[in-house]
């Protein structure tokens, strides 16, 4: 098994490292091009003042002399345990009414994603658009889909943890029994059993407008103490009738709206794939 080695770690920290990263791409790509003189960089990566933006967006770009196809590489600092990579073909406007096809690659750079991206780039500039490159892109995307979505989910969850509301609500003590229908209860238990708080964060993310309610769900569950006669009894302290109503309402609403959660389950872990399929069937969600 090949060990994953991240490359150009910390490239956004200083200009020096950033230019090293650009040169890294330049060298690698020049090695696979038939005639590097037939290509030029075509995308600007400066801010309005002419200073280079150290964000890898893009880290490197190329266009061939006849302007028939181009390349755009976006690189992120490694944040995942496994690097992700995705690729697609897009159109970019180079002059009025002229769009050219561009191979776009987004990645966290490792020894493995580097080799895969260079393979795509070589094929792109040699053969151009067509079924072969589409197939190669599909293969890469399928392989990295899970890493990509998992890393997205992790990032979203991190964002939730950063919310001030969440931090302050964590200090709230809940003490109440929330009565739920058996069906909701079963779903709730399933969710809770699989990934503990993570599902609840996912539900939180699936809710677009009622963040606070959902955060209450998270908080309430994290202080879960015992389960009595079809209801949950939460920790010590007090809860107002309004909180209780809000909580129950939010909980039921969220369970009626499991689609978002379902989509996110799929992204979270390989282990819960079976369950998401089951939930999908239950909710009549056809992929």
């Amino acid at each position: 098994m090949t060990t994953i080695q991240f490359r150009n770690k910390g490239f956004t920290e200083s200009k020096e490292k950033y230019f090293q990263a650009i040169n890294h791409w330049k060298k690698r790509i020049n090695n696979i091009l038939d005639n590097p003189n037939n290509y030029r960089e075509w995308l600007d990566n400066t801010d309005g003042n002419g200073e280079v933006s150290l964000n890898g967006n893009p880290i490197y770009s190329l266009i061939n002399k006849d302007n028939s196809r181009a390349l755009r590489i976006m690189q992120n600092e490694p944040r995942s345990k496994k690097p992700y990579m995705s690729a697609w073909i897009e159109n970019s406007n180079i002059s009025e009414n002229i769009d050219i096809p561009v191979l776009a690659i987004g990645l966290e750079l490792s020894n493995i994603t580097e080799v895969k991206s260079l393979g795509l780039i070589e094929m792109w500039f040699r053969e151009g658009p067509g079924s072969r490159i589409n197939h190669a892109i599909d293969l890469v995307n399928r392989e990295y889909e899970k890493n990509y979505e998992k890393s997205e989910s992790e990032r979203k969850i991190e964002l939730y943890h950063e919310l001030n509301e969440l931090k302050s609500l964590k200090d709230v003590n809940f003490s109440s029994r929330v009565n739920l229908s058996n069906k909701d209860l079963d779903r709730f238990k399933t969710l809770y059993r699989i990934k503990n708080h993570i599902e609840l964060n996912c539900i939180a993310y699936s809710s677009f407008r009622n963040d606070v309610y959902v955060i209450q769900i998270y908080t309430a569950i994290s202080t879960l103490s015992e389960f009595i006669n079809g209801g949950y009894k939460f920790g010590r302290g007090h809860i107002t009738a309004r909180y209780r109503d809000n909580f129950t309402h939010a909980f039921i609403t969220r369970h009626k709206d499991l689609y978002g959660a379902y989509l996110l389950y799929k992204q979270l872990s390989d282990n819960i794939e079976d369950l998401s399929e089951k939930l999908g069937r239950e909710l009549n969600i056809v992929e």
Binding site: W42, L43, D44, D47, M74, N76, S95, G106, L107
Partner: protein
């Protein structure tokens, strides 16, 4: 007196916002004779965010936010002018489900005088 012919209007300031990815492919372009103002840029971005399905918007929420921050930063530098290289960025960086900003020609995101 010979009639004066109207000067042709040259839309030398062009670009587009795009919501791209697996689930949508929508855009809000601009093409006009004067540089695009930040206000109008923000308006186009909001229009785009309202145009796409809610689930797609949810996925790109951070992207819209980042794009809005980027154009605001550009406006503080007096806007962005395309000189010899094109401008294209994705928000979030390197993600397939994203918001793209392209400035094809001219200047964009100046502050209203």
């Amino acid at each position: 007196m010979p009639r004066k012919e109207a000067k042709p209007v040259i839309n030398s300031h062009r670009g587009r916002f795009q919501a791209q990815g697996t689930g949508c492919n929508d855009s809000e372009p601009w093409s006009q004779p004067k540089p695009l103002t930040l206000d109008l840029g923000n308006h186009l971005l909001t229009t785009l965010s309202n145009k796409i399905p809610k689930t797609e918007m949810m996925i790109r929420r951070a992207g819209f936010q980042m794009c809005s921050e980027e154009i605001t930063a550009m406006s503080k530098n007096g806007g962005f002018t395309v000189v010899d290289k094109a401008y294209r960025r994705s928000f979030p960086n390197a993600r397939r489900d994203r918001v793209d900003l392209e400035i094809h020609a001219g200047t964009a995101f100046i502050l209203k005088k």
